[in-house]
C-alpha cells in the first residue's frame, strides 16, 4: 500500500480536529475534536510502524506500543476533562468556553464581547480602578 494514503488521511483528520478545537464553543465538542486529533496521530503511528517493521526490520514495534499508550492517555484525558467540565458547569451554569473568561486579562462581564468590547474596555477598567481607589479611601 502506498504510504501516502494513511499519511494524507491522518493529516486531514488532524486538521479537521484542529478546526473543531478552534471553532467550537461547547467544551465537550472541543474534547471530541481533541479526540479526533489524537486518532489522527494514532493512525500515523500505526502506518509508520507497519512500514518500518518491514523496511527496517523493526521488532520493537514502537509505533504500536506508543499507539496503545496514546489510547490509554486519551482515555485518562477524557475522564479528567469531563470531570473538569462538569465541575465548571456546576459552578458556572455553562460549559461554553467563550463565556468562561474569569482568567482573561480584562474581563467582560457579559462574555460576548470580542474585539468590539475591547475598544470600550480601557474606559471600564479605568472606572473600576477609580471605584477601587474610592473604596480604599
Amino acid at each position: 500500500m502506498h504510504l501516502a494514503y494513511p499519511a494524507v488521511l491522518s493529516a486531514l483528520l488532524f486538521c479537521t480536529g484542529l478546526y473543531g478545537v478552534l471553532a467550537r464553543r461547547n467544551a465537550i465538542l472541543v474534547l471530541m475534536s481533541v479526540e479526533l486529533m489524537l486518532n489522527a496521530v494514532n493512525l500515523n503511528l500505526v502506518a509508520f510502524d507497519v512500514w518500518l517493521a518491514e523496511a527496517a526490520e523493526d521488532t520493537l514495534h514502537s509505533g504500536q506500543a506508543l499507539t496503545l499508550f496514546t489510547i490509554a492517555i486519551a482515555a485518562a484525558e477524557i475522564g479528567i476533562g469531563l470531570a473538569i467540565v462538569l465541575a465548571v458547569y456546576r459552578a458556572r451554569g455553562t460549559s461554553d468556553v467563550d463565556r468562561l473568561r474569569e482568567t482573561a486579562e480584562r474581563g467582560h462581564p457579559d462574555g460576548t464581547g470580542g474585539s468590539g468590547a475591547d475598544a470600550g474596555d480601557p474606559d471600564g477598567a479605568g472606572r473600576n480602578a477609580a471605584d477601587r481607589t474610592e473604596a480604599a479611601a
Binding site: 480536529g17 473543531g20 504500536q64 470531570a83 467563550d98
Partner: protein, 306 residues
C-alpha cells in the same frame, strides 16, 4: 530505505488501497460532520462513525490488536463518557445555533492552511514509499504483546500508575464538596422549588413523545410558583447555551422557535408564552440537581471501562 518500489504502479491501486480510500472517505466525512453539525448529540454519534472507520483502517494495516483496542476503548468507553457529559451539562437535543464560535472563519483558515501544508509535505516526502502488507501481520496480539512486554514494560507500568492517578483525580474533581452537600449558600432561595418540582421534567425535556407534553404541562403549572424567586437569582447564568446574548425577555421569542422546543411550543403558548419562557430556567435548576445525582454512576462506569 531501499525499497522495491519499482514493482508498484502509481495509478494501479490494489484492492487494499481502494478499500482504504473508501473507508477513509467515510471516516473523513464523519469527522467533518462531527466538527460542523449543530446538534451536539449527533456530533457524538458521528464521532462513533469516524472512530469505527479508523478501526477498519487499522485492520487494513494489519494492526488488529490496535483495531480492537480502538473499538473497545474509543467506541465503547470514550464516546459513552462524552454522551454522559453532554447529558449532565443539559445539552439540547435539537440544533443549537450557537454551537460554533464567532471566529470560526479564522479557525477554518488556520485548519485549511495546516491541511495544505501537511498534505503537501507528506505527499512530497513519501511519494515513492510503499508498505508491504503481504508478509506476516505486523500487529497481531502475539506480536504486540511480545513487543509490549519485552521492550515497553516500564512505560507500561508507569502508564498504569497514570491511569490510577487520573481515576482518583477525576473522582476528586467531580466530587461534591461538604458545603454543597449540606446546602448551597448562593442558591439557597432556589432550593425549595427544586425539591418540590417533579423529577420527570428533566427527562421529559429530552423525551419526544407524551412525556414531553406532560412535562411541558407540569412546567407551565409550576411556573408561577418558581418564577418569582428563581428569576432574579442565578437564573440568567443557568440558561443554556441557546440564549447567550439575549436577556430574559429575549428568550421568550427565541425558545419556541427551536426544534428542541417543539413540544413546548405546542403547549406553552396557550398558557402564556412569557411565563413558560421564564419557567424554562426554573426547571433548569431542578435538572441540575438531577444531574448532580447522576454524577457518581458515570464515574463508576468510567472506572470499570478502564
Amino acid at each position: 530505505m531501499s525499497l522495491a518500489a519499482q514493482s508498484h504502479g502509481f495509478l494501479s491501486p490494489t484492492g487494499v488501497e481502494i478499500t482504504f480510500l473508501l473507508v477513509g472517505l467515510v471516516t473523513l466525512g464523519a469527522a467533518l460532520v462531527t466538527v460542523t453539525t449543530r446538534r451536539l448529540v449527533h456530533a457524538a454519534l458521528w464521532l462513533v462513525v469516524a472512530l469505527g472507520g479508523l478501526a477498519v483502517e487499522y485492520l487494513l494495516l494489519t494492526a488488529e490488536f490496535i483495531a480492537w483496542v480502538q473499538v473497545l476503548i474509543y467506541v465503547g468507553s470514550v464516546v459513552v463518557l462524552l454522551l454522559f457529559g453532554l447529558m449532565l451539562t443539559r445539552a439540547p437535543i435539537g440544533p443549537s445555533p450557537d454551537a460554533d464560535s464567532e471566529n470560526r472563519w479564522v479557525g477554518l483558515a488556520v485548519a485549511l492552511a495546516a491541511a495544505a501544508a501537511l498534505v503537501w509535505v507528506v505527499v512530497d516526502a513519501f511519494r515513492t514509499t510503499y508498505i508491504d502488507l503481504d508478509g506476516a501481520a505486523q500487529g497481531t496480539t502475539e506480536v504486540t504483546g511480545q513487543s509490549l512486554f519485552r521492550g515497553w514494560v516500564l512505560p507500561f507500568e508507569a502508564l498504569s500508575v497514570l491511569l490510577l492517578a487520573a481515576l482518583v483525580g477525576a473522582i476528586v474533581i467531580s466530587r461534591k464538596t461538604a458545603e454543597e452537600e449540606t446546602g448551597p449558600g448562593g442558591t439557597a432561595p432556589v432550593t425549595p422549588p427544586r425539591r418540590t418540582g417533579p423529577r420527570s421534567t428533566g427527562n421529559g425535556r429530552r423525551g419526544i413523545t407524551a412525556a414531553a407534553s406532560a412535562a411541558a404541562r407540569s412546567r407551565a403549572t409550576t411556573t408561577p410558583a418558581t418564577a418569582p424567586e428563581g428569576e432574579p437569582g442565578p437564573a440568567p447564568e443557568t440558561s443554556n447555551s441557546q440564549a447567550i446574548d439575549g436577556e430574559a425577555p429575549g428568550k421568550g421569542e427565541e425558545v419556541p422557535a427551536k426544534g428542541e422546543g417543539a413540544a413546548k411550543g405546542g403547549e406553552a403558548p396557550g398558557k402564556g408564552g412569557d411565563l413558560a419562557a421564564k419557567g424554562e430556567d426554573a426547571p433548569a435548576k431542578r435538572e441540575d440537581a438531577a444531574a448532580k445525582g447522576e454524577d457518581a454512576p458515570s464515574k463508576d462506569e468510567e472506572g470499570e471501562q478502564r
